[in-house]
Symmetry: C2
Amino acid sequence: MKVARTIDSVRKLIANAGENCKKVGFVPTMGALHRGHVSLIEKAVKNSDFVVVSIFVNPTQFGPEEDFEKYPRPLEDDLKICKDNSVNLVFAPPVKEIYTEKNFTWVNVEKLTETLCGKSRPGHFRGVTTVCAKLFNIVEPDIAFFGQKDAQQAIVIKKMVTDLNLPIKIVVCPTVREPDGLAVSSRNKYLTDDQRKQATLIYKALQTAEKMIKQGIKNPQTITEQMRKTLSKQPSIKIEYISIVNTQNLQPIDRIGKKNLIAIAAKLGSTRLIDNIIVDLSK
Amino acid sequence: MKVARTIDSVRKLIANAGENCKKVGFVPTMGALHRGHVSLIEKAVKNSDFVVVSIFVNPTQFGPEEDFEKYPRPLEDDLKICKDNSVNLVFAPPVKEIYTEKNFTWVNVEKLTETLCGKSRPGHFRGVTTVCAKLFNIVEPDIAFFGQKDAQQAIVIKKMVTDLNLPIKIVVCPTVREPDGLAVSSRNKYLTDDQRKQATLIYKALQTAEKMIKQGIKNPQTITEQMRKTLSKQPSIKIEYISIVNTQNLQPIDRIGKKNLIAIAAKLGSTRLIDNIIVDLSK
């Protein structure tokens, strides 16, 4: 496994892979790799000839009050995970390599970024799409892998790729969960033991919604009220949003349809967690 | 010469060019090709193995009051010019091929697009950078050619390419002029005979500026006032701006430096013309 720190060296290493490199698979990450990332890497290994993982804590997707500075950066552990999972190339650039000069150019996906997490994190998705556009242009992958856990991010990236005609296939992989249902996330390590226990209610609320939809309840408000009740069992969970939206345009729906995205964002202390499920009645 | 109407066929034709296609040169245009475009095509033919010209009147770079509908579209003439100049592939898509679904994604270069033409044409450069990003992702050229006549556009595109790490070299080619100095432009054909004669004053004003700078005058205001006098000889020329700016950041300068961009936008009747020169005292 090679580790590159510069754009030039990434490009050279991929170009030199030559015939072994007919199909480049790419997993962009912010590091602090966990089982969720490993599932993306495994999918990439299975579906491409040459797997590139980027590890880059992207400053432009953090708000001024957010956790950019304290975001975990266990690089040695991350490299070991990549190596153990047959990654060919890790791109772990310093910030000044990615933002070499004053950045004036932004890629922004309108509409889809104005709901859900976009409301409370202004500029977040603009940072995500801009850095992904940059990384896509550096790595030039044939196929890139994102997690369903960040549902809005995956939908926004897919729309960017379509709208900008990027010659890349985006694959969205299922959310990986702890045995008690909590979605695996780099931010889970911020939780105290007590918060960690309470956090399981988030997935329980999503399961409540799924059950109600499968029972035939069609009014989204009836469902979100029940979810709110489930979460209110632990008053230290501060709900940011509970939304049932259209999986295409991320707009709230009036009535449960065939395919529904149910999404939660909540804070436990200063740790913000998100989770979601898609309930697809046509399946 | 091949002519493609769809993204799929462009990609296939370029992929099939194989070994003949080691270096793809690209000239993006809105058609109505003139000697300025031909100079870009000639440069592309000289500097690449396979030359792609796009002909696409991009709706997103026109304001609601601008000339999108009446912009000239002499496709047969354009194809003949391309063929006569050894172009390998023309990409002439209908609008619905480029904007297949509702476009939510915009590429925007801040700062550089807020001065000069950006002031009077809000959204214009956002349309230009977005369509160029799309065309670059479709054609995947190694090298692309733009004209110095659209100085701000060239600087904005270069900045986009740098900021988004696009693996493309941008080459800016000199402005082509009529014998009397008027910069060649697709919009010149809108001019009446009388306006056409008056329009020569634009380049005369730029030459006045060059002469003054070379004489050692350092105050930009002294120079722009003299330019304004030159242009006011024909009161039917409505000046939109006369600016002397830094060639890097496009900001007005307090004092003439080594490299100065002098730019004019003016209207003759409803026809808006732009022109510019760079005066480089270090040469």
